[in-house]
Amino acid sequence: MRRYFSQIWYEMRHQPLVMWISVGGTALAIFMVMVLFTVDRVSFVPAPPEDNRDRMMVGFGVDLHFENGSISSLLSDTGVKKLYSKVKGIKYLSFTNAPETKDVGSDGRIVTEMSVRGVDDVYWKMFGIRFQSGHPFTAGDVESGSRVAVIAMSRARELFNDDEVRGRTIYINQLPYRVTGVVEDVSPFFTFAHSDVWVPYRKDTPNEYSEFVGNTTPLMELESKEVIPLVKREVKARYERLNKKLGEEGSSLIYHQEPFTLAEYIGNNGNNNDPDPDSARMGTWYIYAVLLLLPAMNISSMTRSRLRRRVSEIGVRRALGATRRDILGQFLVENLVMTVAGTVAGVLFSLLFCKLYITTFFPMENAGTWQLIKGGPSFSLIFNWETLGMAAFFCLVLNILSTILPAWKASRENPAEAISGKHD
């Protein structure tokens, strides 16, 4: 290995610009790919408080067909119970209402719009949302429809200029709610854990068209991610059983492979569609391929030029007994060292960029909410073993793409011709 470093050091001294271009080009390519990869993954990599993202599933809604029409809607609590309650493999089933923007104010002072999410007591077990003071509301609060609330710290300060607001009253759509707890702010990167205010889940009132139609979003934490296919199979079987009964009434539930994993949920366009995360993933991989292929062409061209200057050396080494494989291996490893250096620089820059400027590329729904984020995404959200693995993979691909052809060509040099200088 020392020999490789000596050789690289020699080339760096004699061809500094070309070496820096090779390393810089690699760093730029890896930077670009890693930024896109990280932005793409931020919505579903497990990180606190949504540590369970890889084993989390969501009931997107219901697609109900009648003889003369159809309804696409969120589920009702009755529908959730019929489809997801006591399914083997589901550890927690939480009933939630999708977040709504409501007027929130303190006694007679500020009235502003905040995101308010209805959740049950199970929700607090699913997510690692940290309480600064107080406690979540209980199953009893949910059952009785108590006017209690949990509020995010920055929002509590906005309303009261104070962190310790437990026991005080906030007004949500002009109705008084008693604050039972104050939690640390949850970044909007976390689709289900984020909110400004949490209130008890509101049960659905019976719908005139169907008992399945309502305003509930069921969240599920599975025992492990391995049981995902098992849960899908069981839910599909429940759809079939329910449809036998519904068929007699002239209606049917259309199965769209629910419940969804987080990746399926984020990529879905509505509850009339089957999830298709593979197409989106393919598109992303095409972009990665272009982003890696072009720099690889560049580096390959330069590697070829560099190796051309070392033809005599190759001839001597071959004359002294080095096999073609030795020559090929030598150049692959030499280039790998440089690719690794470029990759490390690219990954570090991509992390810094994602930490500071991820919203430049992250598709935000509401820029105002994002202005509240202090310090960008947490480190665990943008860097994990998977990111590291992907960086190593991209590094290897780039190295092979850029070196294999010139190195293979160099290894096939005839020793006599190489020493005499007769070569292409």
Binding site: Q15, L17, V18, I21, S22, G24, G25, L28, A29, M32, D103, G105, G108, R109, I110, V111, T112, E113, Y171, N173, Q174, L175, P176, V290, L291, L293, L294, P295, M297, N298, S300, S301, M302, R304, S305, R306, T359, T360, F361, F362, P363, M364, E365, N366, A367, G368, W370, D424
Partner: protein
């Protein structure tokens, strides 16, 4: 140059791939820039705030039951709250609107058929309502011969304002001016109202990336005693220049502005709303620009590295040229010409590929009103231009180096 044909083929191949990718990216950028820079139909929004009204819930403490006179009392309370807001020291003007705030995606679609001189003119529009003050605050521009003052005056007279809009058949579009003076008839629960169409304004787009373009009709909002004001009205507020922060602080330091069951929510800066509604599109636009920058950097580095190497290998040849009378300028121009020749050679297959893949690809248009041919050729030309710059920049350093080669020293080494 022919001696390095392998390297050159490699470079040409790279340039072809990059230019095809670049044209795709450039088409998106061109369409988005065309959309973003299209007039919004209103003036600057930095010092403009928007606030909405809300009313107490029946279960709220302090709720007053107005019974059947609810609508009347809500109108009265809105007027009182608005008057209190106007007394704020930082407020210059304030006016009421309904579905009239830019940078919100609400759309109340409608159409009316007008018969003018025997022609049946069907005008599709987004229905908005504005007080004359609101139109002035938003800087609603006049159009088709009407000024902003004409627009305000029409609303003051209780007339309807319509926007400029090319409508009718594509081959024979109607002139929107033919509708001025016509009567607009609306039927509500309160009865039939007839209003004259009094002026033409610019079309107020909902957000910067909105490709959709049709008409807009503005009905006047009467803030006076007889006017019926709805709780879903919004208030547009123009504050004194640069006092936005102090204006908000002044509101927060006092009890919420309220009268009866009606209260005013915290105002939001219109510029913040603009950022909000464009956020998703902006990130996509940023991504395209970043890709463009990346592709240009790749070309720059590729040309720089290859030519740097090439110059080192051709030091002897360059020295010989110098000895036989070539000036430094000749050497410099020769290197740049070689790099440009590569681009020209790469451009031919690139154009063929581009035409084959993109010339009819409407999905790249993003709703731009330019034709696909215009977008294609503009993008192609811009791609060629930026690639030329990138290549010249990449070849500049090696060419400068070649220019400085001392003939005697280079030949001695040979």
């Amino acid at each position: 140059m022919c001696n390095e044909w392998r390297d050159n083929i490699w470079l040409i191949l790279e340039l072809v791939v990059v230019s095809v990718a670049m044209v795709v990216v450039m088409m998106n950028v061109v369409c988005n820039i065309e959309l973003k820079t299209r007039p919004m139909g209103i003036g600057p929004v930095d010092d403009i705030y928007v606030a909405s009204y809300s009313e107490l819930n029946e279960e709220s403490p302090g709720y007053v039951d107005y019974g059947e006179r609810k609508a009347e009392f809500i109108s009265r309370d809105i007027r009182r709250v608005t008057a209190a807001l106007r007394r704020n020291q930082y407020v210059e003007k304030a006016g009421l609107v309904q579905n009239g705030i830019p940078f919100t995606l609400n759309y109340i679609g409608n159409y009316r058929e007008f018969v003018v001189n025997g022609d049946s003119l069907r005008y599709f529009f987004n229905m908005r309502q504005m007080s004359p003050e609101a139109a002035e605050i938003l800087g609603l521009e006049g159009s088709s011969g009407f000024s902003a003052a004409d627009v305000k005056a029409a609303l003051e007279r209780g007339e309807v304002v319509i926007s400029d809009y090319v409508f009718g058949e594509e081959e024979k579009p109607y002139d929107v001016r033919r509708l001025v003076g016509q009567n607009y008839v609306s039927e509500t629960e309160d009865g039939v109202t007839v209003r004259r169409i009094g002026a033409i304004s610019s079309f107020m787009r909902r957000f910067q990336y909105e490709p959709h373009r049709n008409g807009m009709m503005i009905l006047p909002v009467n803030e006076g005693a007889g006017g019926n004001l709805a709780i879903y009205s919004n208030l547009v507020i123009k504050v004194r220049p640069g006092t936005g922060k102090r204006f908000l602080e002044s509101l927060q330091s006092q009890p919420t502005l309220a009268s009866g069951n009606v209260f005013l929510k915290t105002p939001v800066n219109l510029e913040a709303k603009r950022k909000d509604v464009s956020a998703k599109h902006d990130t996509r636009f940023n991504l395209f620009v970043a890709c463009m920058f990346f592709l240009l950097m790749i070309i720059f580095l590729g040309i720089l590295g290859t030519f740097w190497f090439r110059i080192r290998q051709r030091e002897g040849e360059i020295a010989l040229r110098r000895v036989t009378g070539a000036t430094r300028g000749d050497i410099f121009r020769r290197i740049l010409s070689e790099s440009m020749l590569l681009l020209v050679i790469a451009t031919i297959p690139a154009i063929l590929l581009d035409v084959l893949l993109l010339y009819r690809n409407m999905s790249l248009m993003n709703g731009s009103r330019l034709s696909i041919q215009e977008v294609f050729w503009i993008s192609g030309a811009l791609t060629f231009l930026v690639m030329t710059l990138s290549i010249l920049l990449g070849a500049w350093f090696p060419a400068s180096r070649a220019m400085r080669i001392h003939p005697a020293e280079a030949l001695k080494e040979e």
